[in-house]
């Protein structure tokens, strides 16, 4: 059991969830209620990580992180280190890969709030922020929670993109999925089995939480 890899994965997953939560809410609300030109293209771009092979996505991210790209140069100028093969690079990749997992459940949840309910809140004199915190968020909470749980579980298990972008540097970019792969390559089946079991348990709990919160709120309590 590679404890360092597990901790790194948990850190990566937690950071991804924390950073994606506000981004996801803003994008999901906009996609649920706003009509803008080019909306379809934005939707397609956001869903791309779902269908793109992880190696392809990893390749483009590596190109974007490289010393020749504006993003890579800017990051290096700011921090003195490179984005590629670093925890920061891994986090950026993880954010991109998880966008559709975070946004879609939230978007469905926000879409399910009737327009009239939001209009009623405005007519009740509630400020936009109050409408968001007191009406929208409680009503969309199950979708937001599902999105967070799915993102967390998906980050723990991400393999292809992580390997491409981060390599396998212990303590920096070697996540638990890569550690499992390493153990198997080294014919350490029992080490791999322990870690696989941990991931399995995490995934199971995540899915169970996601399903149990998918019951819309406001229905009569059973």
């Amino acid at each position: 059991m590679d404890g360092t890899a597990l901790v790194l994965s948990l850190q990566l997953a937690a950071a991804t969830v924390v950073l994606l939560l506000p981004v996801g809410i803003v994008v999901a609300r906009a996609r649920a209620w706003r009509r803008f030109t080019g909306r379809r293209w934005v939707e397609a771009a956001l869903a791309l990580p779902l269908v793109l092979p992880p190696t392809v996505l990893g390749f483009y991210l590596l190109v974007a992180f490289g010393a020749g790209s504006p993003l890579g140069q800017a990051f290096e100028a700011l921090t003195g280190s490179t984005l590629a093969f670093s925890f920061a690079g891994l986090l950026v990749a993880s954010l991109v890969v998880n966008l559709p997992f975070a946004i879609q459940p939230m978007q469905r949840a926000f879409e399910a709030i009737p327009d009239d309910v939001r209009a009623a809140a405005a007519c009740c004199g509630m400020s936009p922020w109050r409408i968001f915190t007191k009406i929208e968020l409680p009503l969309a909470w199950s979708g937001v929670l599902s999105a967070m749980v799915l993102t967390f579980a998906h980050t723990l298990g991400e393999f292809g993109v992580v390997l491409m972008v981060g390599g396998s540097i212990p303590g920096e970019t070697k996540t638990i999925s890569i550690a499992i792969y390493d153990r198997m390559q080294a014919f350490d089946a029992s080490g791999a089995a322990t870690m696989a079991a941990v991931l399995l348990a995490c995934s199971l709990v995540a899915i169970a939480i996601a399903y149990s919160t998918s019951r819309p709120r406001g229905r009569a309590a059973a």
Binding site: V117, A119, A120, C123, G125, L139, G218, A220
Partner: protein, 378 residues
């Protein structure tokens, strides 16, 4: 252009636009008055209500409530819904499903100190007869109870105007009758303008002091329900308020210097307004209640009763009322009348029966002639 007097109490609205929904409406509603906006679906009733609440922005116009200008396209004023003091009851009620009945009501009380909200919320729920149900969520309430929560929530903001968007359309007939009585009772105690949107003429007649007839976003006529239903401004309004007896005629001079109508070879006694010239083509209508069965044992009273003979072509009995369609020689459409069912039964009136009726001259209303097609096509 006439300015709306600023200090005048009540609600004044004038809005106009071509798209997305054509609007050309003007309404005024005094404090304590209930104005019904009546029209078929798609006539723009709800859009006007949303304009008042600040949920829809018209291209042109002005909305003033008391001393506050809520909207003035020319001056670039467009207050947010939050900055307009309106209480809106949505057709779907739009209650907050995750909040209790009390929570829904207190949600609209951000203008009051927190310590007061609970007491005031309970008071309002008591006022709409929901005491004891404060802790229920909307899904645990019946349709009628949900409507009452929506009314209490609309009042919770201490609004300057109460807006009701077809508030009775989602409940059953029995509940509706009960809610009608409750609203009539409630509105007596409220000193604010109330605008009720409905497509139900009887509902409007029962609850409103005045009604405004809307068609394709245009306010065609505003008046008391009785006025609008017995004296429609034109054939289009007549058709919208379900006056079925609308016919064409010409103004003619009758004996003795009075004027009347020449209609299908008959001469009708009627009060013809002076702005119609003799020889003018006009339309006239008569409510079903103005068509009376002629008593065989009585002679026609000269001057005020216009006798017409016909044959019953349709006979529909609905409870205590029987509606008859009378086919009259030379008329393309039938003449409609309503009788008490017991009279129809006593006189054995059924399809095929020959009837002699009178058109009461005082019930006969003369309108400008207009091709029906002109009103329905822009």
């Amino acid at each position: 252009m006439t300015a709306v007097p600023e200090a005048h109490a009540g609600l004044h609205l004038r809005v106009a636009q071509h798209a997305p929904i054509p609007l050309d409406a003007q309404i005024d509603c005094a404090p304590g008055e209930t104005l019904a906006l009546v029209g078929p679906s798609g006539s723009g009733k709800s859009t006007i209500l949303r304009c008042i609440a600040g949920l829809h922005r018209a291209r042109e116009g002005r909305i003033v409530c008391g001393a506050d200008t809520w909207f003035d396209a020319a001056a670039g004023i467009d207050r947010t819904p939050q900055a307009r003091s309106t209480g809106l009851v949505f057709q779907s009620y739009a209650l907050f499903p995750h909040l209790t009945a009390l929570g829904n009501v207190t949600a609209a009380m951000s203008h009051r100190p927190p310590a007061e909200r609970d007491r005031r919320g309970r008071e309002l729920l008591h006022r709409v007869h929901l005491e004891g149900l404060e802790a229920r969520r909307p899904a645990e309430l019946s349709g009628g109870q949900q409507q009452r929560v929506a009314v209490a929530r609309a009042l919770a903001r201490d609004p300057q105007v109460l807006l009701l968007d077809e508030p009775f359309s989602a409940v059953d007939q029995v509940t509706r009758q009960k809610l009608y009585r409750e609203l009539s009772e409630l509105r007596r105690t409220l000193a604010l303008p109330i605008v009720l949107v409905t497509h139900d003429l009887d509902e409007a007649a029962m609850l409103a002091d005045r009604m405004s007839i809307l068609h394709r976003g245009r306010t065609l006529q505003t008046g008391t329900p009785r006025e609008v239903r017995t004296r429609p401004a034109d054939p289009l309004v007549a058709s919208l308020v379900d006056v079925r007896n609308v016919f064409d005629a010409r103004v003619v001079a009758l004996a003795g210097g009075v004027r009347g109508l020449g209609w299908q070879g008959r001469l009708l006694e009627a009060t013809v307004p002076s702005h119609f010239a003799t020889g003018d083509r006009v339309a006239w209508c008569i409510p079903m209640a103005g068509v009376r069965l002629k008593r065989r044992d009585r002679a026609v009273e000269p001057g005020r009763e216009n006798p017409v003979d016909g044959q019953v072509s349709e006979c529909v009995t609905l409870g205590e009322d029987t509606t008859l369609a009378l086919r009259v020689d030379g008329l393309p459409s039938p003449l409609w009348l309503r009788l008490s069912t017991h009279i129809a039964e006593r006189d054995e009136i059924r399809v095929g029966t020959a009837l002699h009726v009178c058109l009461l001259a005082e019930a006969l209303h003369v309108m400008p002639w207009r091709d029906a097609a002109e009103g329905t096509d822009p």
